[in-house]
């Protein structure tokens, strides 16, 4: 364990920011979903890093729960995307402008 924990945290911050940029820039809803998954992964990485830094197994257990929630979220989100696509032509965020109030 020669690599300091801060390096992992910086890498996690970079990955999280890439996910933020992806959600804000991309229009394809599926790619936006992938960016959300990337942010979840960045948080998982920092959880494991804190678990190592603090010598506490709780961080890894939390990552386990995050994985379960991510799987459920993807299932429901892709179901919503599929059902939207049945009614609309495309699945970009612009096609959903009918949702604005």
């Amino acid at each position: 364990m020669t690599v300091p924990g801060n390096w992992y945290l910086i890498l996690s911050a970079i990955l999280f920011s890439l996910g933020v940029i992806g959600v804000l820039v991309r229009k394809n809803v599926i790619v936006m979903f992938m960016s959300v998954e990337m942010m979840l992964n960045a948080v998982n990485l920092s959880f494991v890093t804190f678990s190592r830094m603090l010598g506490d197994i709780g961080g890894q257990v939390l990552v386990f729960f995050v994985l379960v929630v991510a799987a459920a979220e993807v299932v429901v989100g892709l179901g919503i995307i599929v059902s939207i696509f049945r009614r609309r032509v495309g699945v970009t965020a612009d096609d959903l402008h009918i949702l604005e109030g």
């Binding site: 506490d56 197994i57 890894q60 459920a72």
Partner: protein, 221 residues
């Protein structure tokens, strides 16, 4: 540069970290920059593998295996299935912006977020408090330690995840059920969910529906 290189050779952990970090960042940039969603999904797999490598390097072997199985094996495959099913594997058009200057603003927001997190990372994280859930153990008993904590301290959240997964499965089945494709019925029943978009869709789909009405493919919710 040369001392850094010598240090890296002396410490294989550092080499693994740098290689995995390169894979992770390259995959992340690929996800947000490829025009084709399929390429984005494959870049996402690359990121997942890099993260799994970093998990192994930090003695989280169980999570590394779960990461590969759940993310690369299930979630990304689900993404690819949906992409293929919907046929959206074409490049998106950036010329028509609904919000002016959205992309530069988004890039600025992302950079600001990165700076904010890095500034926060300089704060003192470790409190020195004793471990609340038990020690992390060494590389040989990682699964044992996690199982011990999950089935004692976190037993209730663990059961809650079971309920959550059942709810997710039920909602996925419900969402992917076939809806009314008969326009006349949809117009007669305005409270039906299909009428949410019925106003625009009626003219568009009307000729097609007339032909398919004679078939036995008219299902109801």
């Amino acid at each position: 540069m040369v001392p850094l290189l010598l240090t890296a050779i002396a410490k294989p952990d550092l080499i693994v970290f740098l290689a995995a970090a390169l894979v992770v960042v390259a995959g992340g940039i690929g996800v947000i920059s490829y025009r084709n969603p399929v390429h984005s999904a494959l870049s996402l797999v690359m990121t997942m593998f890099g993260i799994a490598t970093l998990f192994i390097e930090q003695n989280a072997q169980f999570l590394a295996a779960v990461q590969i199985i759940v993310y690369a094996g299930a979630i990304v495959v689900l993404f690819l299935f949906v992409i293929m099913l919907l046929g959206v594997d074409r490049a998106e058009v950036f010329s028509r912006e609904r919000i002016r200057a959205q992309r530069p603003l988004a890039a600025v927001a992302g950079v600001v977020t990165l700076g904010e997190i890095l500034i926060l990372a300089h704060a003192t994280w470790a409190t020195g408090a004793k471990a609340a859930n038990g020690p992390i153990g060494n590389s040989s008993d990682n699964v044992f330690k996690i199982a011990q904590v999950v089935f004692s301290t976190y037993l209730l959240p663990f059961e809650a995840t079971a309920i959550l997964l059942v709810i997710a499965v039920l909602s996925a089945v419900y969402l992917s059920k076939r809806v009314v494709v008969n326009v006349d019925e949809a117009l007669e029943a305005p409270e039906d969910e299909v009428s949410l978009f019925a106003a625009e869709e009626t003219e568009k789909r009307a000729p097609k529906e007339q032909s398919s009405k004679n078939d036995d493919e008219v299902y109801e919710v």
